[in-house]
């Protein structure tokens, strides 16, 4: 099964819609609730990151009986130093993002914690690609 969603940068009223959709699909497939929770949280953190930092992005989800693979690719400022971005507490989020209850520098480490594989790559001034996988 494959799914694809467009994500609009700055659109906080819709942030989470794609993650919500996928979570509902996973529940319907009777996947272990703890695994569903991990995937939903990783997806949502990743979706909020695109809304918070990029101009726009695409979330692609590829699902089979053994695993879920997710790729988020965005057009945006990119990440200057990935190692630093992965550190808990480091964030470049705006005040607006912080007012929404995010931007504390915990999103990327939390994605790593909730996935079996995670790979982050970025070209400064162009965009960021996040790939993650969870095995059922």
């Amino acid at each position: 099964m494959q799914f694809e969603y467009d994500i609009q940068g700055g659109d906080f009223s819709s942030a989470g819609k794609a993650s919500s959709d996928i979570k509902k699909v996973l529940k319907q497939l009777n996947i272990d609730p703890q695994i569903v929770r991990r995937i939903a949280i990783a997806l949502y953190e990743a979706e909020v990151n695109v809304v918070a930092h990029a101009y726009k992005g695409v979330m692609k989800v590829d699902l089979d009986a053994q695993k879920i693979k997710i790729v988020l690719e965005d057009e945006g400022p990119g990440i200057e130093n990935i190692e630093r971005a992965m550190q808990e507490g480091f964030s470049t989020a705006s005040d607006e993002v912080r007012q929404m209850g995010f931007g504390a520098g915990m999103g990327l480490p939390n994605i790593k914690r909730n996935t079996d594989e995670m790979h982050l790559s970025s070209v400064l001034g162009e965009g960021t690609k996040l790939e993650m996988m969870v095995i059922f």
Partner: protein
Amino acid sequence: MELSKVSQLIKGNIVHESDAAPRLEFAFSSDLMSDVLRFHMEKTILITGLSTVQTLRTAEMSNIECIIFARDKKVTDDMIELAVENNISLITTPLTLFEVSGRLYSNGIKPIF
């Protein structure tokens, strides 16, 4: 603890009661959604002063069953819609985050860790 008891303890107003009839055992107080997303939240109440659609989305992803909005924060129609869709009960209260937490703690609601 049942929702009606929780609401009564904090002078609350139940804005939406989920059909799932939650049995609430734990609570977590935070305005920082990033923090909420870090922990297991089964049978848990989120007590917060942050009233946005993202509060509901965070609860949805974390399997939170009830949100208490402290200091009389307004709950919008968009938020109620998401609460209905995801079986999340909503309570508003004029009390502060501190007082809500204290009242629930002293009546047996436990911290999540």
